[in-house]
Every structure is written in structure tokens, then in C-alpha cells.
Subunit: 254 residues, 4 copies
């Protein structure tokens, strides 16, 4: 059944007064075929989402409370799309266990809802085995504390894994004279370069090369509104996917 | 059986003295697990490839002779990787017919062996349905006669098709005052912009956008050596793929 | 005398409650060696800036009132940095006339305070005569009404003028088959391409090419805070430049 | 007097059979208003250029012979455009001394004849003082031995110098957690990142940033034909510039 204006997907938002939660409320309200039926934040009762008949909750809360939230909604047969961080392997196993008893309920936990970032990573994985070398440039505003960014480091690892599976050795590099750091950080033999400048926001460029050609995949993120299409996609997809799904890339059907 | 130095794939090159054919000879010779066993050009006998025990031929010849070449090699149970142009639907049907009688023989016909261009098109197809708008910029040297390039026009059509299948309408565009041509060519409602400058070679940039983020896929091609990795991949893959395959993208297993 | 914390430049802001004016107030307050001494908006008296001892006013008001504002501040021996639009040649002549009687007073009127845009235009002008061809790509969000952007059209004209002065003919272009619009808009024989996508903000890319090389100058503007360094530079420079100066580029001392 | 087809500039090429010299011969022959009157290489007599009435020589020879070449041509009142490397301060002083006795003769010695690279450096110098931060990304094929490239390191030093003269401190950088090398090499506090990939040729990107905007200057060099417009410009300009000029940027009149 296609969900439309007559029977919109009923969505509850947990953490509805936080930065991401408030964005999610707006985005769901503006999306065709969806409606916000409950907004819950610290001090409110979780029971509100059940009382309101929510089919899916979106959770942008806190690592301290997210497991309790999930326990409750799974018990109530409500699906969940979770952007809250802090999911260890152990925590994921716990959620999987709960879902075993509820074969109809789906939970999507995603560390990154930026569609472009997720697609860029996926394409990088797909392209990696066709190229003799790959490098990453990530560019962020100069208030960022870590270099490289988590996304770039993760992308490098995905590329390294795909190269390894294809039997590729590290890309040839004739550098014999280097000013310290010029060739970037080596993340599993994939070089990553971190640029920091005021005026930048969040950008990642993945470069592949072989004789005579290069392929570049670039993602530019301007602000956190860019996460919302991924959240909405998650809401739509989680209803038809029982069990635990980790990572937005796994609902994209690429 | 993995093919290695002890039992290399035996390759015959048709059109071996032409520009692309000569490149192919060099590339096959340099590739691990492959060997050139026959080089045939105008005036030589096709029988040479059979006599030499070729398992695969690479054909960079001419539309006038390519069908005769294919007829011969298919009869001899030799597979083929074909870069020669001029394949109409009718010609493809003829080749398919021949292959019906030879269930072990594979033929790969590809209009474009540039891996990066093929990957860029594939990724564009995959990304298209996630973005509200897409545009293409293609940049070539200023001796090029057509605008946009065939690759860019083809990419635009693939994007339009993917958008259509996802039920997306043409991207919103608030332009009310335009100097003629500023907004580019419209290829099935996807805008394509053609830059022509000396110093450029062949470049394509596909841009996707939605609120707060953009995704860009760019392919830069410097010279025709860039086609050889695609040809080698074709040689490796065609052996295990009986029947007719059209387009390198269909052997990439993305 | 270098102006520092002990004797900051005394600045009055006209249009202080408007979007740009409010930004200017913040920027001046945060800048070392400057202080806001008066904030004036519709309904307030202009006399406040004189009473407060302002040495420079920043005017982001409206075409209807800006001439009256200038008349008043020039009479009071106060310099002005003006971002308000609507200055025709006739209006500029009027201001020049007033300044003739006040040889110590400087007025800077600038249509664009984005340093990067101004520098990009200046560099484009400088580079133009060294290259056989030039094209411009400008990329904006898809709510923009005009294509190409005013800045891109202006840049194209500057390039055309520099090329003309160097005796260069229009760049060679071998296009014989074109889908309407593919080659962009022709602004005095310089091609300009306008990309419109959600997720973009305001971007301009100027490309120069000749055999074997290209030079690209790109400006990316994220939000209107980017105008403030240009406003502050204007405030510092106008004090030492009596008479009328039109265009931020003329105080950059490039 | 404008030099045209009737009275072309008479050019002798030293090192005429070397890679760069041969390119120079071709370029001069193809240029309007210039003619090659002598081609000299190892084993030929330098007297040929004088006998042929050369007004300018182009020298792409070797550090071992270039000083003898210059001594001879200056004595003969012939100007010189020199791309041969190895000029120390001491060697430059020697040439200057010779030229003192010949007030009509001009010599241009340039380490880099790529107009785009020279312009990019010049623009970088001009832009540097207007931005709170600057970084450089240089991208080359993976057969290059040094990282960063000489051009990028030189550009970084020019930027650092311009920033220093404007009283700017090193750009703010909040990085507290870094994988070794991620933030690139520090050349006088300007960060430089070196990407090495097959398929690349020689590319330099200079990025400037401040709140809300970035300015990027990029040079792409495809092959050594890109040096010839700079050589031709040098030939034209050296005739009117007595004495020693070091660096192509000093004849560009920017």
C-alpha cells in the first residue's frame, strides 16, 4: 500500500526539542505522506507515542536514554529510525535480541543520515577495485578538532577493504623526498588529506586514478538540513524491513 | 581456474595496426595472465587467430568488416571484445542470433571502454532518484564538433529515466530572466552545459543537489590509454559470460 | 597614525536594523581598532551620527534615502562606505560634485563587498589577455530568478574588454552541431553557463585555456557574513582616500 | 615599432634538438611576427646565431654551458630568454655584471615558463593578505619523487611572506587530534597537501578562506606545450627590457 495524504505514516519524534529532533519534526511535517503524531523530549512520557498511534519513531536523543527508548517502542510494535550515537557491538546485539521476539518490527540505526555522504562512500567502495590508486581530500571549517574527519577515515577503510578483496596492492608512490606530512595520513595505506579553512563547511573528495584518467566523487554539505532527506527515507523504508538494519546505505537498494 | 602466467588468456587483436588496436596489443602484452597470440589487420587472414589458438579476440576495426569478423570468430568458438562502432539494433540482433547456436561463446560490445566514464554513468543512475535536481557540465578541448558530448547526453538520458521511474518531476527552476543559452541544453529536462577550451581534454561533471547538500561525480580523461583497463577487464570477463553483452557496465558487477 | 584600541575609528551605521546593517554593526564591534558610535534606522535622526562624532558611516539603507544621507554626512565632514544600490551615472556625478567642495572627505560606493568576488574579477581581468579562450560557470541555488548572475555577466564583460584591448579575437570554437543552449549564453563573445541546484549557495568559476594548460579562479560564497571583511576594509581605507571611489577593487591596492 | 610578418623578430634557439628546445623551435616558427634564424646544439658553433643576425636567443641547454652561452650572446648584443636551470645568486650576479657593460641588452632568466603557474602564484600573493587562512593542494602523477612540488613550496613561501608583511598571524587551527600527516606539510605555517595518482599530470590548487567564503586558484598543466606561450611572451618582452630580469612574472605587467 502506498502511503499518501489520506493515510500518512504516523511518526513520533523523540528528542523533539533538540537541534536534530526539531529539524526532524519540521521535515516530517513538510513531507508528503507523513505526519508527526507525537513530540517527546526529556520530562515527557514515552507512552505518548504509543497513545498517539505512532508507527515509527525518530530518535535523536542521547546515548544514556536511547536503549530504554528502543526497548519501549519495540515492545509496543513501533518501528524506529535512530540517529543517536553510541551504539557498540554489544548494544547492537541487545537490540537484535529484542527484535527476535518481534518479527514485524524494524529498527534502523544510522551514524550518518547525509544521503550524499552515504552515496559517496558506497560509490567509493564500488569504484575502488577498478583503480590502481585512491586518495581522499576532506575539507572542513577550521573549528574542527579531529583530522581526518570520521567520515573520511571510514571511507578510507572501506576503500582499503574493497582493494584488499580485489587483491590490489597499495598504490605505487615514487616519493623519495617528503616534507613531513605532505603526503597526508595513511589510513590502511589510503592517503587522506585534511584541509581546514574558515568559510568551508563539510566537504569530502575521493579521487581514483589509473593511467590516463581519474574519477572523483565529491560531497558538499552546507548545513544539517542535509540530513533530513535521509531521515525521511529511513522512515519510509523501516516499515517494510523487520529486524535490525545498521547504516543508511543498507536501505538505499543500490 | 584463475588464469596466470603459466596459462595466460590467449588473445588475438583485430585491427592491430590501428591506433586503438596497437594500444590494445601493448596493453595485453603488459597485462599479467594474458598474451597476444595473433595480430591481424587489413590484408591479413582472419584464420590466423584460429590457427594461433586465440580464446578471445579484441576487435578495433571498422563498421564495414566487424560483422564478418564476428561471424568468423563465433563460428570458431572464440569469444570477442568489440570496440568498433556502428552497432544498430538490427546488427545486435544478428549477433544474438549467431550466438544462440553457440551457447559457450561470449561477445561483449561496448561503445565506451573508459572505466571512469562508465562508472560515472552508473553512479549517476544510482544517485538520481535521491536528489530533487541534477545537472551536467561537460568540458572538452575546443576542436570538438558536437555539444553536448555523446557521453553527457547519454548520461542525461539515464538520469532522466531513473528520475522518471522514481516518480520525480523535473527539478524546480525559478529562472524568469535568462540570456539565451545560459541555462544550458535541456536533454529530457536535465540541463547540460558544454564548456570548450584549449588545454582541456575530456571531462564530465554530474551534479546532484537537494536542500543543504550536493553530490558531484567527475570523470577526467587525459588520453586513450585510459580505455585499456576497460578492454583488459572485458577480455577477462567475456570468457565467463556466454551470449551477447552490450555495454561495459554490464560486466562490472556493481 | 595607526588606529588601535586606544583611538578606534568611530563608525556610524545607517540602516542599522536591516539585515546587512545589523551584520555591519556586529562586524564593526568585533573588529579591532573600530567602534560603533551611532546606529540609525528609519525614524531616527541622522544628526545622531554627527553628535556621536562618527568619522565614517556605513550605509546599507535604500535607494530612496541614500542620497539624502550622503548629502548630510559629506556636509558634516564624515566619510562614507555605501552598499546601498541604485547608483546611476547621474547620481554618482552628483556625489562627485558635493565632494569637490570637501577635499578631505572620502566616499566609497561598492556594488559588491564580497572580497573573493572582487578579487576573482580582478584576477580574471589580469589573466584574460594571456589566454586564447575564457568561459564562466556560475552556480547558484534554484531560487534565483536571473541567469546568468549579475556578477558573472559583469566578469564576462571585464574579460571581453581585456581581451579586446590586447587585440585577441573571440576564442576558437569548432562546434558545428549543438543542442540549443549547450554552449551557454554569449556575453560579448564570452560564454557563460548557469547551473541551478538546491544545496548550492553562490559560486563562480572562471576558466582560461590555451594549449596544454588551464587556469581556474573560483569563488564560493556561503552567506552574507562574507561581505563584512570587505566592509571593514572599506571603513579603514576610505579615511585616507578623499573624493569618490566606485568599486571595492579600487581600494585593494593590487 | 610593432614587429610583424615583414620584419619578424629573429630568434636563435640554443639546445634546439633537446625536448624543450625542439618545442621552442616549433613554437617560434608558428608564432606570428617571429622567425627561427638559427638552431644550435652540442657540437655546433655559437657563432651561427651571430652570423644569422639573431636578435634574441632562447636557451634550453644545460647548467654546464649556459653561462658560456650567455657570455657570448651578450658580447654580440643579442638578448636572451633562458629556461636552463642552475642559476645561483652568484651566477645571477655574474650575468648582471656583464650586462652593466651592455646597456641595450636584456636577459630574462625564468625557472618556470608556464603562464598559468606564474599567474596563479602572483594572484596568490595578491590575495594572501585579505584572508585569515590559506592552504595548498598540489596533485601530480605518482612517478614524482618530491612532495610537495617545488612550485607549491614556492607558492607557500610567497603567501607566507605576503601574510607576514600584512601582519597576519598563522591561520587558526583547532585540530587537537590528528592522524600523523593528515594536516599536510607546514611550509612557513602554510599547509601544503600532496596528492599522487596515476592519471594526474600536474595540478596546483591554492585555497583562501574567511568567514562565509573561499577563493580558489587552480592551475592544470597537461604537457610541456604549456610552456611555449610563456617563452614567446619572453621573446617579445626581453627586447624592450635591458638588464637582467629574473622570473616571468616580472614581464607580465600585472
Amino acid at each position: 500500500m502506498t502511503r499518501g495524504e489520506d493515510n500518512p505514516i504516523r511518526v513520533g519524534v523523540l528528542g523533539a526539542r533538540g537541534r536534530m529532533g526539531a529539524q526532524a519534526v519540521q521535515a516530517v511535517e513538510a513531507a508528503p505522506g507523513m505526519a508527526v503524531v507525537a513530540m517527546v523530549d526529556a520530562g515527557d512520557s514515552l507512552a505518548e507515542v504509543a497513545d498517539a498511534g505512532a508507527e515509527v519513531v525518530v530518535d535523536f536523543t542521547h546515548p544514556d536514554v536511547v536503549l530504554d527508548n528502543l526497548r519501549f517502542v519495540v515492545d509496543q510494535n513501533i518501528c524506529a529510525v535512530v540517529g543517536t550515537t553510541g551504539f557498540t557491538e554489544e548494544r547492537l546485539a541487545t537490540v537484535r535480541e529484542w527484535l527476535r521476539a518481534k518479527p514485524e518490527v524494524g529498527v534502523l540505526i544510522a551514524p550518518n543520515f547525509a544521503l550524499g555522504a552515504v552515496l559517496a562512500m558506497r560509490f567509493a567502495q564500488q569504484a575502488a577495485r577498478f583503480y590502481s590508486s585512491a586518495e581522499i581530500i576532506e575539507l572542513h571549517h577550521n573549528r574542527k578538532a579531529d583530522a581526518p574527519s570520521g567520515t573520511a577515515a571510514h571511507t578510507a577503510r572501506l576503500i582499503a577493504q574493497a582493494r584488499g578483496e580485489a587483491g590490489l596492492k597499495p598504490g605505487a608512490d615514487a616519493t623519495t623526498s617528503e616534507v613531513d606530512g605532505a603526503r597526508g595520513a595513511s589510513i590502511e595505506d589510503v592517503r587522506v588529506h585534511s584541509v581546514r579553512l574558515p568559510g568551508l563547511v563539510a566537504h569530502e573528495e575521493i579521487l581514483f586514478g589509473q593511467d590516463g584518467e581519474t574519477l572523483t566523487i565529491r560531497h558538499d554539505s552546507m548545513d544539517r538540513t542535509s540530513f533530513m532527506p535521509g531521515v525521511l527515507l529511513g522512515v519510509r523504508e523501516v516499515l517494510g524491513r523487520p529486524g535490525l538494519t545498521v547504516g543508511l546505505e543498507n536501505v538505499l537498494d543500490l
